[in-house]
């Protein structure tokens, strides 16, 4: 089968914050770039980010990027790569100023500088007082950021392949790396081969492996699935952040900025329970800490019961209507819509909800994908990049700090774009064989040729339920093993699943089937990695191994799709400009 071929210098898959920042860096250089996105760019999940983007501007108090670095390393429970964290925190201010210059409508302080608010896990002077480091555009920072980046790309006339779905990587004829990707125009249903010197994955998260998630419906781990099928490893994929404040029942996110602005959590006795769990930082402890505390409260019977859902409440009413309307207007809107509660008058019912994938495709601090072979040998894949949530660069380690994901997106999206720009003339356009193209098309062909089988939605439902029940805030080996067994069965069933509508034009059930392949791959990787790490660290909290075990597990886990094998990879403890931060006990 001859596929139509389009050739570019670089293709970027995903048009969220990371993909669009990378595209912008490249478009400004005059390179031929294709920005491929399965949704119109401003529909990407970055749009839902609320609270802000963290970096040490020092607008509210004297600040230092090293303090931000310290907090991030500590927040990561010490398995974040310190060279990457250093880079992110150091260039952060410059990258945020660039966004401001592009027109991002940040909220302002009285002196006209960018407004910064306190967020969880932030400290001054390496663990001192609470800092206010998160730059915000009210509580719509992600929206403001994503639209600004789209607008800049519009100005730079980036080629956007809007509503194109990437299927799989195509291996190069010589076996060295990848020559491009197969992508499908959703509108026509036709597949093409996108041939390029460089490929940047910016496909975002996969929170839809869980039943209850703050993630958009499009967060289906497409990059993770593609990477695993291409034989690439994924790293620290057991690390899933549960955000403390998802609206009970709806899963919609309520920003940590609410607590930054002075809100706090209460149990059914009206008690501000975080004072017991984190006497110093209280409600602004790290997210893993708060989510665990909430789960313990609910377990102890201290939760409210709202239509059968057990939850705690986020109290904001004491902040006053004016502050809520100016700093948290979007939260008020969401709370009224999804919880039927006006936070000016009543607290919002919340539960810990799956929010963020700390793990992903391992990369170095330029965004270059690192392959780890069976013997643990590492190799940088020239021309292949991963940025944003789908990547594990790794700045978040075992637990991401609030406000660090937007920073991650723009810092590493930009870094990858700049790196490609520099190398583009040296990167070859690799040749392909029919066999490799056919291999990359085989998945689509399998779906298209199956007329009868179990439905996609049924398998997806069971997978999400399994993940929710067995891989949540608290985990045990026994339950996880049961969960893994179930997932392996589901994977078998998925091989024979089918959709009934086989038309081409805008066939979203076809897309959903392809997405489920990616979700399943991510779920399986998560399950294997979670069973593998026999300790508790950051978001990975095992009741059968309640302690952190630095002797054995101060390391990344690496999942290899082939044979579902696990291995480890050393954490980078060598920042370039400062002394490394050594692991300490993590208290807030």
């Amino acid at each position: 089968m001859a596929l139509p071929t389009y050739t570019f210098d670089a293709i970027i898959i995903g048009a969220g914050g990371a993909g669009m920042r990378a595209a912008l860096a490249l478009a400004e250089s005059g390179a031929q770039v294709a920005l491929v996105s399965k949704v119109f760019p401003t529909r990407s999940h970055t749009v839902s980010a609320q609270g802000g983007i963290t970096c040490a501007l020092g607008n509210v108090h004297p600040d230092d990027w090293r303090w931000h670095m310290y907090d991030t390393v500590k927040g990561s429970d010490y398995i974040g790569d310190q060279d990457s964290i250093e880079y992110m925190c150091e260039v952060g201010p410059q990258v945020v100023y660039e966004l401001e210059h592009m027109g991002l409508p940040f909220s302002r302080l009285d002196n006209g500088r960018i407004y910064q608010r306190p967020f969880g896990g932030q400290s001054k002077d390496f663990g001192g007082d609470q800092a206010a480091r998160t730059c915000a555009a009210a509580d719509r920072t992600g929206h403001a950021l994503l639209h600004t980046l789209y607008q800049r790309n519009l100005a730079e006339k980036t080629n956007v392949f809007s509503e194109w779905f990437a299927l799989d990587l195509v291996k190069a004829a010589d076996g060295q790396g990848f020559a491009g990707v197969i992508a499908m125009n959703i509108e026509s249903g036709e597949a093409v081969f996108l041939h390029a010197r460089a490929i940047i994955f910016a496909t975002g998260g996969a929170g839809r492996i869980y039943q209850s998630t703050t993630n958009a419906l499009i967060n289906t781990g497409d990059g993770i699935g593609m990477a695993i099928r291409a034989g690439l490893p994924v790293q620290d994929i057991e690390m899933w952040q549960f955000h403390p404040t998802g609206i009970a029942g709806a899963g919609v996110l309520v920003t940590e900025g609410c607590r930054g602005e002075g809100g706090y959590l209460i149990n059914k006795n009206g008690e501000r329970f975080m004072e017991r769990y984190a006497p110093h930082a209280k409600d602004l402890a790290s997210r893993d800490v708060v989510a665990r505390a909430m789960s313990l409260e609910l377990r102890g019977g201290n939760g409210y019961d709202i239509n059968g859902v057990s939850c705690v409440k986020l109290k904001l009413d004491h902040l006053g209507a004016e502050l809520i309307n100016s700093r948290l207007p979007g939260i008020r809107e969401l709370s009224i819509t999804f919880a039927g509660v006006d936070p000016i008058r009543e607290p919002i019912p919340v539960v810990p909800t799956c929010h963020y994938m700390m793990g992903g495709i391992p990369t170095n601090r330029f965004g270059q994908v690192i392959n780890v072979d069976a013997k643990g040998k590492e190799e940088v894949l020239e021309g292949l990049y991963a940025v944003g949530e789908c990547a594990c660069v790794s700045v978040h380690g075992a637990n991401r700090l609030g406000g660090n994901s937007l920073l991650d997106l723009v810092v590493f999206g930009r870094a990858a774009g700049l790196d490609v720009k520099e190398k583009i003339r040296d990167l070859p356009l690799k040749s392909v064989t029919e066999a490799e193209l056919d291999a990359a098309m085989s998945r689509l062909n399998r779906w298209d040729n199956t007329r009868e089988g179990e439905s996609v939605s049924q398998i997806r439902f069971e997978m999400q339920k399994t993940m929710q029940e067995d891989f949540g805030v608290f985990r045990t080996g026994e339950h996880m093993q049961q969960g893994l067994d179930k997932l392996l069965q589901l994977q078998q069933r998925l091989n024979h699943a089918a959709f009934t509508d086989h038309s081409r034009v805008f066939n979203t059930s076809r897309i959903e089937a392809l997405e489920l392949d990616n979700l399943m791959a991510t779920a399986l990787a998560t399950a294997h990695a979670a069973l593998y790490r026999t300790e508790s660290r950051g978001a990975h909290s095992r009741e059968d191994f309640p302690k952190r075990d630095d002797a054995k597990w101060l390391t990344h886990t690496v999942y290899h799709g082939e044979g579902n094998r696990m291995s480890t990879r050393a954490v980078n403890m060598k920042p370039l400009h400062v002394k490394p931060f050594e692991p300490k006990e993590r208290v807030y």
Binding site: V39, F40, T42, R43, S44, H45, V47, S48, L57, Y97, E100, H101, M102, G103, P105, F106, S107, R108, L109, D110, N111, G112, R113, I114, A137, A138, R140, H143, A144, H147, T148, Q151, R152, L154, A155, E187, A216, L217, I218, V252, L253, G330, E333, L334, T337, F338, S455, V456, S457, F499, T500, D501, S503, R504, V505, F506, N507, T508, S509, E512
Partner: protein, 239 residues
């Protein structure tokens, strides 16, 4: 103990260019627990689980991405923030009015995005940027409130009769809201050029103050007022 159930009736606009010559309305019924309310999007997702040929767009499911704009019982809105209980049955779902239908509830938004792009929706400031941020007072920033929050769902423009009749010439409420978002930004230096590009009898002045845009905007924004501000600026500039 079995829960009391109820049936919710739908009529959904269906058109698949590969099989249909013209669109038709198809009936659906969904059985849900009596007491349970849900967002319309959730209901449509359940319908899709029963009939996977139904096509619609969706992403964030919380009203910030702007994917699932559609005509719900005659009124444009986002399915994900519309409660089922607020709708009269049978719930009639149609694509956004005035745009070519690709399939079912999915419309071709090309002309809508072209009108958006026409207003140069990006900050223009050719002065060399300072080392830090460009300063902006809270009062100057406040002028952007009610403008920058647009999610490009197209509910407004596709409810606007002026946009129906002249989609290629009239920028439409969504585009004009963004035009004013940049005119109003204290950091933008291209106000005069921006205004000059809007003086013709169509781009702005097709607005007849019908106010359908204000009526349907799921974010509570007010394009009519923004258009009024643009007109005032045009008059003040003496164009």
């Amino acid at each position: 103990m079995s829960e009391a159930m109820r049936t919710v009736k739908f009529k959904i606009y269906r058109f698949n260019p590969e099989v249909d010559i013209k669109p038709s309305m198809k009936d659906y019924e969904l059985t849900i627990p009596d007491k349970q309310d849900m967002m319309l999007l959730e209901a449509i997702l359940r319908i899709k689980a029963l009939d996977d040929s139904l096509a619609f767009r969706r992403s964030c499911r919380e009203g910030v991405c702007g994917s699932d704009g559609m005509n719900i019982n005659g009124r444009n809105g986002l399915a994900c923030v519309t409660l089922l209980s607020s709708l009269k049955q049978p719930i009639e779902l149609r694509p956004l009015p005035g745009l070519p239908v690709i399939r079912d509830l999915v419309v071709d938004m090309k002309v809508f995005f072209e009108q958006y792009a026409k207003v140069k929706p990006y900050l223009i400031n050719n002065d060399p940027p300072p080392a830090k941020e460009r300063l902006q007072s809270p009062a100057e920033r406040k002028k952007l409130d009610g403008l920058y929050e647009c999610i490009l769902c197209a509910c407004c423009s596709t409810s606007c009769p002026s946009f129906w009749w002249n989609p290629e010439k009239f920028i439409g409420p969504a585009g004009l809201l963004q035009a004013y978002r940049f005119i109003a930004d204290s950091r933008d230096t291209a106000k005069v050029e921006r205004l000059e590009g809007l003086t013709d009898p169509f781009s702005v002045f097709r607005c007849r103050g019908v106010m359908n845009c204000v009526e349907v905007c799921p974010k509570g924004l007010n394009p009519t007022r923004a258009i009024g501000h643009i007109r005032s600026e045009l008059l003040a500039e003496g164009n």
